[in-house]
């Protein structure tokens, strides 16, 4: 009987390890109200950098380093992209993959049901499909922090966002995610 239990433990050991990783990622996500970070974004090979703040659910403010002082803001329902050369566009957030990436509860629910992929012992990756978008989320395999995402739509537009210098749960000003005015 002892041998049988030992065998069961050996067989299930890797799964227990992966379940622990999932739990730690979920626990970590649960502890996050907001994240501030620098980002590097690669869209079809074009690199953009800048600073972002995320507040769950679905709020984000990003300022790009170059690109006409481009800013990207979501107040939770609408997403605005504004540049200082006069472009101002407001999208419903449901039209963008950020609708899922910025929804902590959605991510947790997906993670609970998905099989993770550990890449080079450095990253933990979960892949899911929503509205014809393939979305990959990456976490640090050591500290379980969110470190990036990758979206690939049915038209093969690849957007890879890598986060670094991450700070959790900063005190944010009221109206931090207020949509900017048109002018």
């Amino acid at each position: 009987m002892k041998r049988f239990f030992l065998l069961l433990i050996i067989i299930n050991f890797p799964n227990l390890g992966l379940a622990a990783i999932k739990d730690k990622i979920i626990n970590n996500l649960n502890s996050i109200e907001n994240l501030s970070f620098k980002f590097e974004q690669n869209i079809n090979g074009k690199i953009e950098t800048g600073d972002c703040v995320i507040q769950y659910p679905k709020k984000i403010f990003c300022r790009y380093d170059k690109l006409n002082n481009k800013i990207l803001v979501s107040n939770g329902t609408s997403l605005v992209i504004k540049t200082n050369n006069g472009n101002y566009y407001r999208y419903r957030i449901e039209r963008t993959p950020l609708n899922y990436i910025l929804d902590k509860n959605f991510l947790i629910q997906e993670i609970q049901n998905l099989k993770e992929r550990v890449v080079d012992n450095k990253f933990v990756n979960f892949t899911f499909f929503k509205n014809e978008n393939e979305i990959n989320i990456f976490f640090d395999a050591q500290n379980y922090e969110l470190i990036g995402w990758q979206t690939l739509d049915i038209y093969q537009n690849l957007n890879i966002t890598y986060l670094y210098t991450i700070r959790k749960n900063q005190i944010l000003e009221k109206n931090f995610f207020k949509l900017p005015p048109i002018n």
């Binding site: 006069g86 566009y89 407001r90 999208y91 419903r92 039209r95 014809e132 739509d153 038209y155």
Partner: protein, 167 residues
């Protein structure tokens, strides 16, 4: 598997032939995209077109989109509903022929069936006739939204050519 589709070509030859649509019940406005922004053309092409088999530009690179959207003959307009992007149309000015082609025209799914298509087409025809043109034309096919052809006819456009093609 091949599919048979019917393509109708429609035209309107004078602003006096335009039958304006009733105003939509929602707060909306139309704006020209200036400066050019290929992301807008691409966003609408992808999001409006995915239900209607708009496929020929899916392989376009960013360079192709930039070249297209910055063509001086092209004007892109967007429809905003309460400031959110809801639809678009593209007008191509053929100066030698003195005509404007409505190249692309569409609403995001959540804004369809709210009388916005009629309003947007009325605006497109009015904007077109502000230039020195003899006619405005468009083509639509049986893969487009079920109300597309009716909308063009209801605004006073006439079918001048019809063809059946297999794709």
């Amino acid at each position: 598997m091949k599919e048979t589709i019917v393509r109708n070509y429609l035209e309107i030859k004078s602003i006096n032939c335009l039958i304006e649509s009733v105003s939509p019940q929602v707060e909306c406005s139309t704006h020209i995209v200036k400066p050019d922004d290929f992301q807008i053309n691409k966003f609408f092409y992808k999001n409006v077109g995915k239900k209607h088999k708009w496929i020929d530009r899916l392989t376009w690179s960013e360079k192709d989109w930039i070249k297209y959207s910055s063509d001086p003959r092209l004007d892109t307009y967007i429809l905003k509903v309460k400031d959110d992007l809801a639809g678009y149309f593209e007008l191509i000015f053929h100066s030698k022929l003195q005509e404007i082609e409505i190249a692309y025209f569409g609403l995001l799914e959540e804004y369809q069936n709210k009388k916005l298509g009629g309003y947007m087409l009325t605006t497109a025809i009015k904007k077109s006739f502000k230039k020195d043109v003899k006619r405005v034309w468009v083509h639509t096919c049986s893969l487009d939204h079920k109300n597309a052809l009716d909308n063009y006819l209801a605004r006073g456009m006439k079918i001048y050519k019809k063809e059946t093609i297999r794709i």
